[in-house]
Symmetry: C2
């Protein structure tokens, strides 16, 4: 299977497959005589694993660990769970940061008349003026 086929089959771009190879996330692909990379079902499976992990927001380094655990038949599910929970904590941190931004801004927007006059609590707040809660 050439890289384009493997890419569609796994749901990642050919570009990213080459990148994953370059950074050692997947082994060097076999090459045909033409120097084209050649992939099999296992490769596609691995790429699908990577794609799904990315979709859950895992970083490349975390995926490196997950791939190692996937291939380790004597793994402890506790190790996997710990990795997942650490990532969940990261996600929670990000979510609460974003929610804090959203709530602050939402409040300001709510206080803003949004008409054609210049007075605006959003601008005032950014300018450092205290805006009543």
């Amino acid at each position: 299977m050439k890289i384009g086929e493997a890419a569609s089959a796994a749901g990642v771009s050919a570009k990213m497959i080459r990148h994953y190879e370059a950074i050692g996330l997947i082994p060097f692909a076999d090459r045909r005589e033409s120097n084209y990379r050649d992939y099999g079902r296992d490769d596609v499976h691995r790429l699908g694993f990577i794609r799904r992990a990315r979709e859950l927001g895992f970083s490349i380094d975390e995926i490196r660990d997950l791939l190692r655990l996937w291939g380790d038949k004597s793994r402890s599910s506790g190790d996997v769970k710990a990795l997942a929970q650490s990532h969940i904590a990261d996600l929670d941190t990000k979510i609460s940061h974003l929610r804090e931004m959203r709530d602050t801004l939402s409040h300001l927007a709510h206080c803003c008349d949004g008409n054609d006059r210049p007075d605006c609590p959003i601008i005032a707040s950014l300018a450092g003026e205290r805006v009543p809660a």
Copy 2:
């Protein structure tokens, strides 16, 4: 005021002040004979505005618009509000993506025993197996 003082006063790094100048977010600073940048209260005020906008997650391009509106005495608060609401929508999109990741992963982690045995619904799900809801 030298760049370091302006930086502490405004709560941004000296590095970023130079960067904001380089990308045209703030005007070229006055220079002393020594070639050191020289800042005044207005500059610090502008930098504080930028910092607060960054803290609310606005992009540099959005801040460019906000700065223009700030300086435009004939602005319409409606324009500011529209910008803010568009950004709120971006934040909501990001939050819901993250929350979807978090919920999926949280469910999988919940189904994982987390002991020293290898069986693990997290790995199974990443490997493409269907995991019961």
